[in-house]
Symmetry: C2
Subunit: 406 residues, 2 copies
């Protein structure tokens, strides 16, 4: 080719490397204490159970034939049934027809961007929000507008008006939220804020994408109802609900099998099945069958109980060290669950500049917060994950970081 | 939601269910002899080796931690290395940097549509072509124009002119071909036709997407060079080649692991890695590690040798029965490999209407050919796959079908 540039689609301009994933490659140096990752602790992976499950699935010829073959785009029926039961446990009246199996919930974000966004349409997001959602949506060339669930003075009409300015026919297409222990802030939406978001979405008549990646990892306090449960109650059924729920086994079982799901109105599931067909046909059949064995019969609840106790110790270690070591001028969130603490540095300080110093001088790593803002703001914020290091290492790392800031 | 319709993206109009996949659900009735599938014979799946490989990968803690964790979007390095070696065996001077692992080659089709197509751009395809490619591309709203590799009287300028008529800035973006034992026709491009396509692409300065899904399943005759091998020779290196090669283990090992690859210039791989990140992060790590074990050390060649002998017997059974049973007025291809025979019925006859009769009256199924044409033509064609039934069943099924046509 003389040049690839003229051959790329217009949307390619919006595709950027994830700073975090690029960072991760650099930070795997020995001796660096990393709060950057945000991936689950492999100590929790059910390796022995997985070995047994793969063996069982492949043991008889009919099972092996199904596990190693193409399969239906909707997903493995017994797993969809199990997930429908799991959703019922969250107060969502789902049947298997309301479930599509996806390659992790990242793929659901991509599919929903593909289904809903015409270039110029507006996606409502929080600022900061999950970086991977911005990456998935941006391929479909939306504009972003910001919802502030706990402190909004914007009217629904103001969102609609802003969206209509973009191009002919452009409008708000959805609101995306991570209501429980959000990546990157660790924040949880109050019951009132959940109601407010549903009110806003109802006023605009748009769907709400509820990214529930971390909801199972509650470390303290009472569970709050899923937006989808509230909305199915309001509208009378899941098929009439505007909430599209994204679930995943990546944080509770293991990400390596790439199994997540969408729970939604059958109308939406039908559309997403077409997208799944055209995108990669189906999630690995063997992994779906194995995942079903890893979660059925109460095993999912056991895995979650173990994970909660594990991450609670780590979170407490981080919060304790922050409290003991950090100078005034630095503030941070106190997450009730999930994997992240979000810290705000003094106004004039740059998280990116601090990272450079931290890796060089203190051998400590984290993620600068600006990456999580669609507009590149948030320069003085950082994300600290406690998921991977052991407790004494967490204390050591926070101590070193605090020393840099004093 | 009051109505989902206004919320869908414009592209949703182009998303249709695969007739084939819908058909497959109906045709799994007992007693029906199905030539519809086109999926590999599960008898060939290396179930015992897979059991062993999953066990080995999960046996030690470091291996299990990597297999069950998130992993890099490019893919598992040892598998990329192996594939680079495999491509070298096909005459393509590839290194691991030229390889991206995808969820089957279907995902590569989706990613290339995403990377290359702005709405209104033109994709050059054969008619008929692989239905899944049309589904993947159509989400990005292209126009199609037809290349006829063995009988073209069109100039390159005529393709460029047609494409430019669509919208401002629209142009031909790529040519998509399945050069070996194509789905649905079973046809193989001659060496001269391969050169012609590369000439056309060079004249238009566009990439060629070489879908190599069936190339390993040669049942007779000599292997022809990959378009990518020819073009890398012409241009001096793979990084300067315009050919983007799509490979898969689905037809030679097993589709259930969802492991395929793209081999291309590093510039293209870099772009596709960004798309992989945003779309679903990475292919299941455990499946990539297992696939590596299933193919390394000469095992891939052994699997291919077994598959070739297996499908050769089935193809010969089908061709023999067609020859013996079909009335005049019906013609068919004689594939040198792959899984498909393509039959042309008398002009006035409809493949779809024949299917209805065949299922009802003869308990035989196949796929009507019109599904494989971007413009719905080809009404009097049908696709017959010999991959699943045993030889006596193939003879029985073709006999029943021929009786309907006499």
């Amino acid at each position: 080719m003389s040049s690839w540039q003229p051959i790329y689609a217009r949307r390619a301009e919006r595709m950027k490397a994830s700073e975090i994933r690029e960072l991760l490659k650099l930070l795997e140096r020995p001796g660096v204490i990393s709060f950057a990752g945000g991936i689950p602790d492999p100590e929790l992976f059910p390796a022995a159970a997985a070995t047994q499950a793969y063996g069982e699935v492949l043991a008889d010829q009919a099972g092996a034939s199904a596990a190693l073959q193409y399969s239906v785009s909707e997903g493995y029926a017994p797993l969809r049934e199990w997930i429908a039961g799991h959703m019922a446990g969250r107060g969502v009246p789902a049947s298997a027809d309301n479930i599509l199996i996806t390659s992790g919930s990242q793929q659901a974000l991509d599919f929903l961007g593909k289904l809903l966004l015409t270039p110029g349409d507006t996606a409502l997001v929080t600022a900061p929000t999950y970086l991977g959602a911005l990456q998935a949506f941006s391929a479909y060339e939306p504009r972003y507008d910001v919802i502030r669930p706990h402190a909004s003075n914007r009217t629904p009409a103001s969102y609609a008006d802003e969206a209509a300015k973009a191009t002919s026919g452009a409008r708000v297409k959805f609101a995306y939220v991570v209501p429980d222990f959000a990546n990157p802030t660790g924040d949880t939406l109050s019951l009132a804020a959940r109601g407010d978001i549903l009110d806003l979405a109802a006023e605009l008549d748009v769907p709400v994408l509820e990214d529930s990646a971390y909801s199972a990892l509650r470390l303290e306090g009472d569970e709050l109802p899923a937006l989808q449960a509230i909305d199915a109650g309001r509208s009378g059924s899941l098929d009439r609900s505007r909430v599209i729920y994204l679930g995943t086994f990546s944080k509770t079982v293991a990400p390596g099998l790439r199994v997540g799901w969408v729970c939604a109105s059958r109308a939406i599931i039908g559309r997403l099945v077409l997208i799944k067909q055209a995108s990669d046909l189906n999630v690995s059949a063997i992994n779906q069958m194995v995942m079903h064995r890893l979660v059925e019969g109460g095993r999912h609840a056991e895995l979650i109980a173990t994970a909660r106790a594990h991450y609670r110790r780590k979170r407490d270690a981080m919060l304790g060290s922050l409290e003991a070591e950090m100078p005034s001028g630095v503030s941070w969130t106190r997450p009730e669950g999930g994997l992240f603490v979000w810290a705000t540095l003094p106004e004039s300080m740059s998280g990116a500049a601090l990272l450079e110093r931290a890796v060089e001088e203190a051998k400590v790593a984290f993620v600068p917060g600006a990456a999580f803002f669609h507009d590149g703001s948030g320069a003085n914020t950082i994300r600290l994950s406690y998921s991977l290091p052991q407790e004494p290492t967490i204390a050591e790392g926070i101590g070193r970081l605090a020393a840099l800031l004093r």
